[in-house]
Symmetry: C2
Subunit: 189 residues, 2 copies
DNA sequence: AATGTATTTAACCAGTGGTCAATAAAGGGA
DNA sequence: TCCCTTTATTGACCACTGGTTAAATACATT
């Protein structure tokens, strides 16, 4: 039998999650097998089941992680001392920046299609959206309806989704992102 | 062996494509098997291979079809006699309706990440976007920049993408789609 | 009857998620 | 140093799915 690896090279949850994150966001949940993840890491697929009960649990671990990251981004911006209009713009751009900086995360959070997985992730997107919506709503005053906030979200979602697909980093579309934010601001004033 | 069917009931390319279209747009390419399509039609799965070389060929036959469908949708609306503002709204809603009615094809047209497939579909998305952009631009007068048209597209794209992921048909979000169209109209006026 | 065409059936093959006994390495006493 | 326990890893294995193919069969037409 192949000799066991030394301690330094031992498989960790983190190693698995890193590999899985890349594969999942590149190919989608369905198109990634536990065997592929293991191969990417240079381990046998059985080893993964020592660290995660099953494929879904591994996936879920990733998701939780990423949602709390985005929540933090939003919280940070809301804490800043600045004019509401500017802050609103920061929120918009912050969302885009997050999506394009952590593309693979974003895909998993908002772009995964698989129903089986979706049932799993139910609450987090809602919770994060709530945070987004409350922030936007409170910064807009009464110029804006609940529905408009949703449309703003969908619009940002469209922006991120498109440029995710074309594998572009945030810096490359920073200017466009600002223009898009302004476009949305115009829609509500 | 099960007795063979009479001539009137013989399987045709059209019958297969009709069944496949429904299934693909309901469940997505990956989640539909040749066996399922055959079962839906009441034939054995082997029979499909008499009419189509393989699953991909069957699928591409549908895709070609749907690009020209979207173009036709846009052309039809442009031909109508109506006020520019109303027409613009129709364009927006027409796009959404198309996207949510033929979800799996929309995915291929605008959402697919797979490079292999993308090389196959190179020109059509650009061509279709050109048609969309020209239509919108001409209906807006000078209130709108080229960039704004792009943002409108991204916004519609976000709407469709989101509801594609949540496997909802157009009828279920018809009202929302109209509100979204109005939202975009407000952004450019 | 003969022929060509459409269809069914069974089988093949590659791949999947998941389980598990066997086993090797590491670490801690004594 | 040896022994023992814990931990990590492996690879064989199961039951299953799905695309594809080839042989066998039924039908319609001639």
């Amino acid at each position: 039998m192949t000799p066991r690896r030394t301690v330094q090279q031992e498989l960790t949850k983190e190693m698995i999650m890193d590999a899985a994150r890349d594969l999942f966001s590149e190919k989608g949940y369905q198109h990634v097998s536990m065997r592929q993840i293991a191969k990417e890491l240079g381990y046998s697929h059985g080893a993964l089941y020592y660290h995660f009960k099953n494929k879904a649990e591994l996936f879920y671990a990733l998701v939780e992680n990423h949602f709390s990251m985005l929540n933090t981004v939003l919280d940070q911006i809301m804490k800043k001392e600045m004019e509401p209009g500017e802050k609103l713009k920061e929120i918009f751009i912050g969302f885009i920046k997050f999506g394009l900086t952590y593309q693979s995360h974003y895909e998993i959070m908002f772009l995964i299609k698989d129903e089986e997985v979706r049932n799993f992730i139910n609450e987090e997107p809602n919770h994060t959206y709530e945070k987004f919506a409350k922030s936007v709503y409170s910064l807009c005053g009464k110029n804006v309806s609940i529905q408009d906030v949703w449309f703003i979200f969908l619009s940002l979602h469209g922006f991120v989704t498109h440029y995710c697909r074309h594998v572009v980093g945030f810096e490359e579309v920073k200017g466009l992102a600002e223009a898009h934010a302004n476009f949305l601001l115009r829609a509500i004033h």
